[in-house]
Symmetry: C3
Subunit: 395 residues, 3 copies
C-alpha cells in the first residue's frame, strides 16, 4: 500500500510526540573536507541546504532515520553531529517518498539532498563518512566545525539576524588552513610535501590562509548583489539584496553586513551593520567589536553616507552624512551652532540635542551632517541638507 | 587569375562607394559566452581585435561579406550585431587573400582572426554561433552586450580617450554574473545546481559577482605596466604604459585611469583621470562621478602627489602635493598667506589667487602644496617646494 | 667499504680546507621557470630549501660535486649560478649517502632535494636544465633572478632580518610577467597568441602582472599566521608567527613586515616594520622608503595601536596609540600639556620631551597617545592610558 502525504504528516506528528524528540534550532546535511594528514580533523563543512527555525518535518525525518539506523542522538546537548549511513539514507528516502517526484528546483530541498546522496554512483569516490548530519538544539558556544559552519550559513543566508547568534568558541574551533580555491589544506601537509611539490612544479596556488572560508564559496547572492572580489566578504557576513562590494579597500567581516541595498567601498568590521540605501565610501572604516569599540557594536542607519576615508566608531542615525576624511569616535567632542541644534531638534523631536555633544550622543539622532571646519579644525554637526540616494543604475 | 593587393584596394573603394556602406566608429569579431540556462543571453564578448576609427578596409570587407552571406545590415542604427557564418568567412578569406601570407604577429590582425576562425577544427566544439561580427556606427547609448564590450575595449586599449564615449545604458545591458576565472556563469544556474555541485565537491571557485569583467581578462598591458592584483582594475579602465597598481587599497574603475606612468596605491573612481608622473598614495581617494562629486569629473595633473589617505574631490593641477590625510573637496575653504599667494601667482600668471579660496578654485593652479596646520587645524595652501618625481626603478 | 658519517665529516673538512673553497652566505637548488618565447630568460626560481648562513656541510658537498662535474666555480664573485647535471647529482648522492635513510620530514632537507631530483622519472618532462644550483658569496647587488629570489626567500623565511640585505638591482633584474597562479608568462607570448587563445576560449586567467611573485607562492606560514588574501603579501615580506593580514586595505611589501604577532589591516610599506602585539588598523598607512619618507625607514614599536585610517611617516615607540584618522609625519608639529610632558618623562627617563615637538622627535618615546583635539584641530600628544593588547582569539 502506498505511503501518502497524509501518512507522512501522521508519521511526523508521531515522531514529534516522542519523548526523545527535540525541535532543533538548525539542522542539515554537510559534505566535509578532512585533513590530508589527519583524517579525523574536519577542515570545512559544505551545506547544500541549511534549515534554520524551519522545515521541522524534515528534522523529524532525519532524527527518526538516525534512530532507525541505531544511532544514539543525545538531544540534551546543544549540538549533535554524526556521519550518515546507508541505513539512515534508506530510512529518509522511505519516509520522504511522497515528496520525491516534486522535489526539484527550489522545492523540498532536504528531499533533494537525500535523493542525490542515495543516487551517487558507487565509484564516485565519496563514502558515507564524507557526509555529516548536523543538529543545533540550543544556541550555545560552538563545539564543532560542522556547527560553526551551520551558524555562519544561517548568518550569510540571512536566515539568522546579524548579532543574533552565539559565536563563542568559533576561533578556537575552526582550524587554520591553506586554501586552494574552495579546498582547505593542512599547513603541515604542505610542509611535508614542499620539496616534492616545488621540484615537480606542482606547488599549489594558495589563495589564502585562514580559519574562515569566503562567502562566495558557500553562498549564492541575490541577482542584484555584487561582490567584485571574493576575498572582500568573509563567510558569516550578511549582504542584503542589492548590496555592492567594491574591490578597493572594502571588507565585510563575519557577523557584519548590510540590511538593504548598500554601496560598500569601505570596511564593515565584525558586529557592525549598515542600513538600506546607505553608502560606505572608499576606504571608510566602521569599527568593530573585535577591536576598537570596546564591545559596543556600531549600527549605521538608512540612507546615510560615510564619506571616503571617514571613520565611524559609534552608532549613526538615518539620513546622515560624514564628510570625506571625518572621524567620529564615541568620545569625539562635536560642536553645534544654535541654528543646528534647532534644525536637528525639529526632525528629532524629544531628543537631547545641545551645542556640545560627544560622538556617542548621536546614536538615535537622524539627519546629521558631520564636518570638520577647514578654517579652524573644529568638528561640527549640522542639519543634513540633502537626502542620500544611491545611483539606481548601480544596484 | 590571382587577386592582387591592387585588386583588393579597388574592391574596397568600390564597396565604400556603395550607398549602403557606412564607415563604422568601431568593429570587430567577438567570441561570446552564452548563458548556461538561457542560451540566448550573452554574458560576455571577447575580442581578439577591436578596430576603433581605423582599418576601414577590413570594415568594408566584413560589411561586404555580410551582404554576400545575405545578411541585411541596417547601417542607419547606431549598432549592428550578428552571428557569423561559413559564407561570411569564405567571402572574407577570398577578399583578404593577398594579405594572408603576411598576416602574422602584429600585422593584419583582422585577417588573422578570419583565417583562424576558418581553420578551427570541426571537432573544436565551437560553432559559428559562438562568434559575432559587431559594428558601432554611432556613439549612442549601448544596446547590446557586444557593443558594451567593444566600447570598454576601446577605452582599455587606449584607442578611445577616457570620458570620450557614451556609456549610457551599460549597467542595464550587462548581466550580473558569477565569474569562475574568465568564465561568466548565470547565478540562476548555480542555484539550480547547488545541491549536486556541493555534494560532489564540484562547487566552483567564484572569484567575483559583477556585471563587468576584469581588465586583465581582456587586455595585455604594456611591458612596463604592473597590476599587482587583477581585481584592482575593472575592464573599461585605461592604464598608460608605466603605470603600477598596488594591491592594498587601490582601485581603478571603468572609464577612469592614468595618462602616463603613475603609481596607484589609492582609488581612481569612475570618470577620474591622473596625469603622467603623479602618485596616488596608499588609500588616497579620488572621487568619481557615480558618487560624490555631483557630476563634475576630477582630473589630477602631472607630477602631483596625493598623499596616503588623502581625499580629492576636485580637479588639481600639475606639481601639486596633498599631504597625507588631507581632504580637498570642492567646497573646502583653504587659507593662503600673502607670501603663498605671491609665490603661486608667480608660476600661475594671470590666475585668480587670493588669501581665501575654495577647493574648486584650484582647478587650473599648478604647484600648490595643500596641508593642514597641525597647531590650529586650518587647511592651507602654499607653493610646493619640491618636484614630484617617481622612483625610476618602479616604473 | 661503507662510507660513514665520520667519513662524511672528514670529507667536508677536507673540502673546506681547499684553497678554492669559500663559505657561502646562502645557497640552494632551485627549479626555474623559463620564458615561453625566450628560453634563456629566467622568469622565476622556486627553492624547496634555502640555506642562509647555515648547513655549510651541504655547501661543501655541492661545491665539491660541481668540481667533480668539471664546472668552474668562481668563488671570487658575489654570486654563482649554474644548471645542475647528472654528474653533479651523482656526486652529491655519493657523499650524502650516510644521511639518506634519515632524510625525511624536517631532517636533512638538502639531502632530500638531491635524492628527489635523482629519482625523478625519466618521463617527468623535467631536465637537468630546469634546475639551478645557486650560491651567494657576498651580499652585493643582485645580478640574477636566481639570487634575487634567494634573498627574498631569506627575508620571507625569517632567516635574514628585514632591512639587512642588499637588494639593489632587484627591480632591474626581475622580469615583469603575467602570472597565471604560480606560473609566470611573458607578456610578449600573450601578445603573440592572443588571437588564438581568445577565439578558442583559452585565454588564461591572469591574476597579476608584476616582477615579484606572492609570498604564499613560495613560503608556508606558521600555524597561527593568517593571510586572508594572497595578493596582500608580496614575496620578500616577513611575517612573524601569529601575524594576521586582513583583506581590506592591508598590504605588506617586500623587505617589510612584522616582528611578532601583529594584526595588519593597513599598509606596511617597503622597509617598514612593526613590533609584537601591535595593531595596524583598517586603512592605516605606514610610509615606506620607496616613496614618502626620504630614505629613513619607519619602525613601529610593540603593543602600539595605529588607528583606522591613521598615517605614520616616522618611527613610533612601544605602547603608543594613534587615534583613528590621525596623521603623524616627521615634520608634524605636536603640542603637549605640561601634565603630558611630566607623565611621559616619568616612563621615558632621560628623554627630551617638551611642550612642542615634531613627529620625528618621538622616535624613542614610549607610551604616547597621539590625537587631534576635535574642538580646535590641534595635534596633541599625551600619556597613553591603556595597554594595547591583541584579542587572543584572533592570533
Amino acid at each position: 500500500m502506498a505511503f501518502t502525504k497524509d501518512d507522512f504528516k501522521a508519521k511526523i506528528e508521531n515522531i514529534q510526540s516522542q519523548p526523545w524528540y527535540k525541535e532543533p534550532l538548525g539542522f542539515g546535511i554537510a559534505r566535509v573536507d578532512r585533513g590530508q594528514l589527519n583524517k579525523d580533523k574536519i577542515l570545512q563543512a559544505t551545506y547544500p541546504v541549511v534549515n534554520w527555525k524551519e522545515n521541522f518535518g524534515s528534522a523529524a525525518v532525519f532524527l527518526n532515520a538516525l534512530k532507525e539506523a541505531e544511532v544514539e542522538v543525545d538531544t540534551s546537548k546543544s549540538e549533535f553531529v554524526c556521519s550518515i549511513s546507508d541505513k539512515f539514507l534508506t530510512s529518509c528516502i522511505e519516509t520522504f517518498r511522497p515528496y520525491i517526484p516534486e522535489a526539484k528546483g527550489q522545492e523540498h530541498k532536504n528531499v533533494q539532498v537525500v535523493s542525490k546522496l542515495a543516487s551517487l554512483p558507487i565509484d564516485s569516490g565519496f563514502t558515507a563518512d564524507d557526509y555529516k548530519i548536523v543538529f543545533i538544539f540550543e544556541d550555545a558556544a560552538v563545539e564543532s566545525v560542522e556547527t560553526a559552519y551551520m551558524k555562519l550559513y544561517a548568518l550569510s543566508s540571512g536566515k539568522a539576524a546579524l548579532r543574533s547568534l552565539n559565536l563563542n568558541g568559533i576561533f578556537g574551533t575552526l582550524p587554520n588552513c591553506a586554501w586552494v580555491g574552495n579546498q582547505p589544506i593542512e599547513l603541515e601537509w604542505l610542509r611535508e610535501n614542499e620539496i616534492t611539490l616545488k621540484l615537480t612544479g606542482k606547488y599549489p596556488e594558495i589563495t589564502m590562509v585562514d580559519k574562515f572560508p569566503r562567502f562566495l564559496s558557500h553562498i549564492i547572492p541575490a541577482d542584484n548583489t555584487r561582490i567584485l572580489e571574493t576575498s572582500k566578504v568573509r563567510f558569516g557576513a550578511q549582504l542584503a539584496a542589492g548590496t555592492t562590494v567594491m574591490p578597493g579597500a572594502a571588507y565585510v567581516n563575519f557577523n557584519a553586513g548590510t540590511e538593504g541595498a548598500v554601496m560598500v567601498e569601505g570596511r564593515i568590521s565584525s558586529s557592525a551593520k549598515v542600513g538600506a540605501g546607505s553608502d560606505v565610501g572608499g576606504g571608510a572604516s566602521i569599527l568593530g567589536v573585535l577591536s576598537g569599540t570596546d564591545g559596543v557594536p556600531v549600527t549605521i542607519g538608512e540612507n546615510t553616507l560615510l564619506g571616503a576615508n571617514s571613520c565611524t566608531g559609534t552608532t549613526i542615525g538615518d539620513g546622515c552624512i560624514l564628510d570625506a576624511g571625518v572621524t567620529i569616535l564615541p568620545g569625539t567632542k562635536i560642536s553645534l551652532s544654535e541654528k543646528a541644534v534647532a534644525a536637528l531638534k525639529e526632525i528629532n523631536p524629544g531628543k537631547e540635542i545641545t551645542t556640545v555633544m560627544k560622538g556617542s550622543d548621536f546614536q538615535d539622532i537622524n539627519g546629521v551632517h558631520f564636518r570638520v571646519n577647514s578654517t579652524n579644525g573644529q568638528t561640527i554637526a549640522m542639519r543634513s541638507t540633502r537626502e542620500i540616494k544611491l545611483n539606481a543604475d548601480l544596484h
